[in-house]
């Protein structure tokens, strides 16, 4: 007797679907909002109002918008750097440490030349910030290329080391002598602070940099050989090796870019909204930027948009605490959920659902 079965199955796409690449972040955000509504209902809050406060309200006022951009700045910069590495399959999880290292090295001129009025001090700080982040990322790079040590674990352990180093420095050798013994360096001189635009709001030069850099990187990646190489290396490492794309070079370059951008974000943060070095200068930017990178589909401009989206949830989360009594932990939960949905829909970019028929003829 003949037997026929119709099955839904996954078929690998020859090339990743572009429309799905744009669709999945939107789908992920939508589903997160729906899940969020359910969570709010369970918590006894009105889902409509809560969702509005989280996702929309931050964008409805100039102060909200400016705060979103200010918060998004470090997320975008780090996210762009991470995107490049992740594309190539280099998992830099230690951006938080590179952020701190960049802030440390970059702030040194402001701390040691604390009465300076020299306009060159800012560019110097930016440069040192980049170098600091690169230096910190060089450690996992060396250890991976020379000793094959896993860059995920090395870069992550270095986050803890960097945090402790920061605490040590701002409480000891770099502590403000007029600070009554409290931890923290001197306030940076005005020449070492990034200029602010639009008085009354906090948008500063660093925010502008964070918007320009993704566009520059996008251009660089699209137009250069290197950009192409990263893509190949990430999706087909063996083929890449045959084509002469050195694995070691790829590891170094991607980690240097990731570290450099994270370090830049660090020194920008220190010389803008904080204005000094204190024991804790990052609320986890280096880790949140991982979500930003994925939400942005590992694309620099995607990171720009994703950074803004994530920043909205942060600002919205604070507003929700004040206006709706929602705890801060909900924001963190949202971020995890966004990433899960994103990864689930990732499937659609690489595979397509087709129906096949199997028939079995009994003899």
């Amino acid at each position: 007797m003949p037997l026929e079965m119709s099955l839904l199955t996954l078929e690998a796409r020859a090339t990743p679907s572009v429309s799905a690449a744009w669709l999945s972040p939107l789908l992920a955000l939508t589903l997160t909002a729906i899940t969020g509504a359910a969570i709010f209902l369970i918590m006894g809050k009105s889902p409509g109002i809560a969702l509005y406060i989280y996702f929309v309200e931050p964008l409805t006022s100039w102060s909200g918008l400016s705060e979103v951009l200010v918060k998004a700045g470090p997320l975008i910069l780090i996210g762009v750097g991470l995107s490049i590495g992740f594309r190539a399959g280099i998992w830099n999880i230690g951006a938080e440490g590179q952020f701190i290292a960049g802030a440390l090295l970059g702030s040194a001129p402001a701390i040691f030349f604390y009465e300076s009025v020299n306009p060159l001090i800012l560019p110097l700080m930016m440069l040192l910030g980049i170098l600091g982040g690169m230096g910190w990322a060089a450690i996992p790079a060396i250890l991976k290329t020379r000793f094959n040590a896993n860059e995920i674990l090395v870069s992550l352990m270095l986050v803890y080391v960097a945090e402790l180093l920061l605490i040590h420095l701002v409480q000891g050798p770099w502590r403000n002598p007029q600070g009554w013994g409290f931890p923290g360096t001197r306030m940076f001189p005005d020449a070492a602070l990034l200029p602010v635009f639009f008085a009354g709001y906090r948008i500063h030069l660093g925010t502008i940099i964070a918007i320009v850099v993704p566009l520059l990187v996008w251009f660089a990646l699209a137009k250069t050989q290197f950009g192409f190489q990263i893509k190949v290396f990430g999706s087909a490492p063996l083929a890449a090796r045959h084509a002469g794309i050195g694995e070691k070079r790829m590891i170094w370059v991607t980690l240097m870019i990731g570290g450099g951008l994270a370090g830049l974000a660090g020194v920008i943060e220190a010389s803008s909204t904080i204005g000094q070095l204190v024991p804790k200068i990052s609320p986890g930017y280096g880790f949140t930027a991982i979500i930003v990178a994925f939400l942005g589909r590992l694309h620099p401009v995607g990171a720009l948009l994703a950074g803004i989206a994530i920043a909205v949830t942060y600002i919205g989360g604070e507003g929700a605490q004040i206006s709706a009594g929602l705890p801060k932990a909900v924001t963190g939960l949202f971020q995890g959920i966004i990433l899960f949905y994103l990864l689930a829909f990732d499937l659609l970019t690489r595979y397509r659902l087709t129906r096949i028929t199997i028939s079995k003829n009994a003899t």
Binding site: Y52, Q171, R175, W180, F182, P283, E318, I322
Partner: protein, 348 residues
Amino acid sequence: MAFAGALVIASGAASAEKLKVGFIYIGPPGDFGWTYAHDQGRMQIEKELGDRVETTFVENVPEGPDAERAIAKLAETGHELIFTTSFGYMEPTLKAAKRFPNVKFEHATGYKQADNVATYNAKFYEGRYVQGVIAGKMSKTNTVGYIASFPIPEVIMGINAFLLGAHSVNPDIKLKIVWAYTWFDPPKEADAAKVLMDQGADIITQHTDSTAALQAAAERNVLAFGQASDMIQFAPSTQLTSIIDEWGPYYVERTQAVLDGTWTSGDTWHGMSDGLVVMAPYTNMPNDVATLAAETAESIRTGAFHPFTGPIHNQAGELVVPEGEVADDGMLAGMMFYVKGIDDEVPN
């Protein structure tokens, strides 16, 4: 926009006449430590002035740029008096204060004021002295384990006061100090307590915020002191006492001042005499020790005795407070040296 309108109306109608007072917390009110104590103070405002005042709080606000935004948000939404309850909020508070000159700010444990920024702190060292006296009497191994958080004047002052109190009744007391580099990390605090006990400490005290150390000590039947609130329920048979941060009276006073229009900036550093520092009931000790502790606390409270009364020598042996004199607030606020009797060095 409809939703936002509805929200504003909903909160606006209820608070049309009431003074809005905001609080920025570094941790969760449920921590039973630092933030819990501030939240108790906030609730005191509601209890005594609830007909004219309503309060809001934002918890788990990290120090830094996020803090400035949270503070500004409170200011933007009509709060006229804002308490920022952690040292690291100092610069963010000052910056926000510049942007909102009509809002009054109170910054805890800070040292910078402005026309609309006042600072306040409590003389916890008074409580530490009393604890030291108790420890001096109760310790059999003459070794006290001290779990310190960060090497800042506040903490060093506390260590010194504790030792001075202990030495006043028992010159052989030695302190073993561990720096946890955190205010709140229960497993780490538990480890610190265990290590101190392993090394012979038979009394544990802490300047970190969780109940973990107290409970780790209780597990081994080791006496300990609670911190920031009365933690007796966590260690009913081993807690000796606890320094309770009573912010209520100060908060009510300042809120009343805003209501009356008499609020001015300044620096307030009150202690037992103003009810800001209160000792939890003395438990798990013989009556004579409890009496001594109560008497010591009373003499501090009435001003008859100051814990940092000379002669006080620093570690190098130099006389820093002459006999009969009292360390002034300036020396205390910037205290970064140990008194004689502590063998370790101050970190950094």
